[in-house]
């Protein structure tokens, strides 16, 4: 084996506290999921920054880019009726 290896790339997501969403924090290199989790713990949670970690092989992540922004999201721009503020409530109606 002549080519040096840095192993597979994993993206790291951390949940800070119970009930909160997982947030992307960075990435690690590891051969398998166990070591990826251990590396993620050592690199991204040295001060109690998390209580649960996800690691995902980077190659499985699909994403849009800023260039796709218009094509991908513009169709929702003209749908104001999806927001509660679109509707006019009768005078005097409460708790709605």
């Amino acid at each position: 084996m002549n080519v040096d290896t840095q192993l597979e790339l994993w993206e790291v997501f951390i949940q800070k506290n119970n009930g909160l969403p997982f947030k992307h924090e960075g990435s690690v290199h590891a051969s398998d999921k166990e070591t990826a989790l251990q590396h993620a713990r050592d690199i991204y949670t040295r001060r109690g920054e998390g209580r649960t970690i996800w690691v995902v092989p980077a190659k499985y992540i699909a994403s849009t880019t800023a260039d796709d922004e218009a094509m991908f999201f513009d169709t929702t721009d003209d749908k104001a009726y999806r927001h509660p503020t679109f509707y006019v409530m009768p005078e005097g109606a409460k708790q709605i």
Binding site: T5, S31, A66
Partner: protein
């Protein structure tokens, strides 16, 4: 819609890129960016990552000689953080398409640089104080500014790093303050460390603005948010008062305080020394690189074993 169809894509993309910089938006890995922007950010992040990792060496020299268990634990935690900083930065740099293997190879071939400050030796325990206080202190000023850099992954790495750095600077300053309350020999040791680290710390910000040809483009692209001289001045004004508080002298006979600007002006920086260390003639350049290559090579079997293990697991499933 019409101009999207008629103008060449790169023109539109460039205008889009520039508009986003104008609005202080972050550029993300898969967004279109000019090739020169990519190269500049990549070079800077790679250099920054290497600096964090090489910076572990002068301090590592003192782990086994720390004066107490408390001091040893703190130093270990600080060095571990620096390793972590290197890894955040390598992973941020990799988003621009260069593999970590290649970055390390470039370092070993001396085609990628690291901060010259780490080519100075840590001679006494007071040096550990001076490094934390001055070297990390200077790095913090630079990194706080880089939290607003235009490349998203770099900016995010900086936010995380800055959170961790303040402990680094405080532990260093605490060492200096403790020694300045000690015996005359300990005080002299602290002052000696101050004398050796003060000027190299000021050089960490790089050449004067007038001699820094790439600054303008980097500022235009918002990779760099403040110029070398401006950052250096911030550091000077903060640090000198901290030195006085604990009774240290600044090794600069030309130092003056300007009442009007509430700012210090320093004597001339020895740029010949700076360039000589950059070019490889510092006290420890050779040692730092030999050490890194040695341990990288000695760790190769671990990486190979891990890879073999992963392959075997795939085959078994």
């Amino acid at each position: 819609m019409e101009d999207i169809l008629t103008t060449p894509i790169s023109q539109t993309a460039l205008a889009h890129f520039e508009a986003r910089l104008q609005n202080d938006e972050k550029i993300e890995p898969k967004d279109w960016m000019p090739e020169a922007y990519r190269k500049t950010v990549l070079r800077q992040m790679m250099q920054h990552a290497h600096s964090e990792v090489i910076g572990m060496q002068p301090e590592g020299n003192w782990v086994l000689r720390a004066p107490s268990l408390r001091a040893k634990k703190i130093l270990l935690a600080k060095i571990q953080d620096e390793g972590g900083h290197g890894l955040y930065l390598y992973s941020a740099a990799e988003t621009l398409g260069m593999d970590r293997t290649e970055m390390i190879q470039l370092l070993h071939e001396q085609k990628a640089k690291y901060s010259s400050i780490f080519n100075y030796p840590a001679l006494t325990w007071a040096d550990i104080g001076a490094i934390g206080w001055l070297v990390d202190g200077a790095a913090i000023v630079n990194q706080v500014s880089l939290q607003r850099t235009s490349y998203g992954p770099y900016a995010r790495a900086m936010v995380r790093i800055c959170k961790e750095e303040s402990f680094h600077q405080r532990q260093g300053y605490e060492i200096m303050a403790t020694m300045m309350k000690g015996t005359p020999e300990q005080q002299a040791m602290a002052q000696d460390a101050m004398n050796r680290w003060w000027w190299p710390s000021l050089m960490m910000f790089g050449p004067h603005d007038a001699d820094s040809p790439h600054t303008e483009q980097s500022m235009e692209w918002k990779i760099k948010r403040e110029s070398n001289d401006r950052l250096r001045q911030k550091f000077i004004d903060k640090t000198i008062d901290q030195a006085y508080v604990i009774g240290l002298t600044i090794p600069d006979k030309d130092l003056k305080f300007n009442e009007e600007t509430k700012s210090y002006s320093i004597g001339p920086i020895n740029w010949d020394e700076f360039w000589s260390v950059v070019k490889g003639n510092g006290p420890c350049n050779k040692q730092r690189m030999t050490h890194h290559i040695k341990y990288h090579e000695e760790g190769r079997w671990v990486r190979e074993a891990l890879e073999a293990f992963a392959k075997k697991q795939i085959e078994m499933n």
